[in-house]
Amino acid sequence: MLRSSFICSLLFGFFLLVGSVQAQESGNEQVKRVQRTIFIYNIAQQVTWPNASDFDTFSIGVLGPDRVAIDLQVMAQRRQIQGKPVEVVRFNKVKDVQGIQLLYVNRKFNYDINYVLSSLSGKNILLISEDYNYNTSMINMVNVGDSFEYEINKPLLLSTGFIVTPSLENYAVSSSEKWKELFQETQDDLAEEEKQVEAQQEIISERDKEIKEQEKALSQKDEIITSSKDLLTRQQDSILELASQNQLQLQKYEDKVLIEQELERTIANQVEFLRTQQETIDSTNTRIAGQLEILKAQEDEINEKQRILDAQDETISSQKKVNMLLLVIAGLLLLGALLIYRGYLQKRKLSDALAEKNSEFEMQAAELKQKNAELEQFAYIASHDLQEPLSTISSLIGILKEDYDHLFDDVAKQSLQFMDDSSLRMRELIQALLKHSKLGMNQDKTYVNVNTLLKDIQGDLTEKIKTTGAEIYVDDMPEVLASEVELRLVYQNLITNAIKFTKDDVVPEINISAEKTQDKAFWEFSVSDNGIGIPGAYRDRIFAIFQRLHSREEYEGTGIGLAHVKKIIDAHGGRIWVESTVGEGSTFFFTLPV
């Protein structure tokens, strides 16, 4: 309340000075301009300069093309500061500022307050700024409604030697929070001002009307003057008439002169009145032109702000698009990463499962190997142990046949013969089993020249070949890594079988050859004959131990030969199979790694 009454009293004094013309223009901006000017003058009045005695004229500097310079100049005609006449100087550049006592700068002209302050240092110039941040200047004003508030940077003022009166200090805004609030109000006012521009335009048009009315009034007054002149003429005429009425009227001459003087005064008054009217009209016209200029400047400013807003809108919308794009890209990247991770998980799961299977296989293989070893051991021991009682039986049968033969009848003799045959067969079987159990255990593999090997075997079988007249044709055979003893057994069995399983009237014909498999990893050996052939149902069974297709009377043997062969080929990492046509012959194939 105190502050507002103080400001009111300041304003009241000023309104008396400005008079009816100012009152006529009651626009918001106009009021502000007046108040700003008064504010600056009042503040200047309440500060003591350290070098007050050094200047005769009080100089106010204004930075930038600020209209306040005009207002200050107008005020200078009526008011003094510190008892000294006031002059106003304009500066466009901060570095040019000198020789003044007070500098006013408005933030809207974008001067850097710190730079301004530093350039004022040591020049005894008081800085009054407007709209800058709290405590960044010496004295800082802010517009609030139709009035102004201010804040004082006291430490700075003191350090520069300025002394302010207590009343100035008391009414200053003393906290930055309050300052910000006020600042916000000015921002709001700005928006309001924009609205008021329109209102002002209306006012201007109203003023145009008023001016026209005034012109009308002026012309009326011209008429009055003309009519006054007419009256004057008429009065002069009447004076002349009176003068012509000579002596008689001479006594009234004094009175006439008085009347004349009165009339002249009236005319002079009217002329003076007209002149004042004309001045008023001229000044009104000037002000209207000024107002129009301000309006145009404000309109430009509004347009500029609109343009900046549009540009910002555009920037924001393009930023939004960029953000959306970035979001989409980030989403895609995330999706890709997820897919890759899922694939990795699946792969890992599969490889885990594979590893598990592998270890399972390895365990099974180890188990199988152990079982095989046990089985071989069992067969070996069983065969050995079985042979002992068997040889006892054979020996005793031998004694019975040799020493007691004459005591037996035919049935007893035949029984004895069957016993002898059976024990002999059992011996053969046991020995075959023993041999079978040992096969595949032979680890010392060498490069065997199969050509040489086959020649040796034919040498061994010379007797059999001669009696049967068998023809054996051998291709060029390779060298192969194998146990020589076992490979010899394989060929011995296959060739022997080929000679054996023929019809009596057929001369055995045997072809032996070898070629690499398609993947070049194996040799594929073949032994083909023109024998009796093997029915399809029995082609697998022939490789099983003690499996025979014929009675012993037809074809001798224990039925273990091909079981031996299969075991040997298996132990060498190969494969054996047979192709055959019954009555035409068979071909045995086996493979060995190259």
């Binding site: 035949q414 069957f418 016993m419 025979r548 297709l549 009675s551 039925g559």
Partner: protein, 142 residues
């Protein structure tokens, strides 16, 4: 008087077994003459020839399982395919030395076989074979 089981066919590839089984059957009062063949195919040939030669049909076949070439099971498959007038009334008993009789009995279910006994034959075994498979039938008809 005639033996209740007049004619027994022995199928075994082993001569000694056939010789022994024949002796056993010869000694037993309930069984008549025997014929031994060395393979399933030989037995089939014999059976198929019966209608043409007016030979006597066997009452009982002792069949070895483990034989070269056609084994006992394969013989049974072929036997089943023979004309019914040949096969009807012939009892088939498996003879084996298998150390795993359970397995043999399991396989038996898939074939029409009357019984399964372990080698070698003995008088006691023949007694029970006669009792289980022939005595009731004959006692009811005689």
């Amino acid at each position: 008087m005639m033996n209740p089981v007049e004619f027994v066919l022995l199928i075994d590839d082993d001569n000694a077994t056939n010789f022994f089984n024949g002796m056993m059957l010869g000694k037993h009062d309930s069984f008549g003459r025997t014929l031994a063949v060395r393979s399933g195919s030989e037995a089939l040939d014999f059976l198929q020839s019966i209608p043409n030669t007016d030979a006597q049909k066997p009452d009982l076949i002792f069949l070895d399982i483990n034989m070269p070439g056609m084994n006992g099971w394969e013989f049974l498959d072929a036997f089943k395919e023979l004309p019914v007038h040949i096969t009807e009334g012939i009892k088939v008993i498996l003879l084996s030395t298998s150390s795993n009789p359970e397995e043999v009995k399991k396989s038996m279910r898939k074939y029409s076989v009357d019984d399964y006994i372990n080698k070698p034959l003995s008088m006691n075994i023949l007694d029970s074979v006669y009792e289980v498979h022939f005595q009731k039938q004959y006692s009811s008809t005689s």
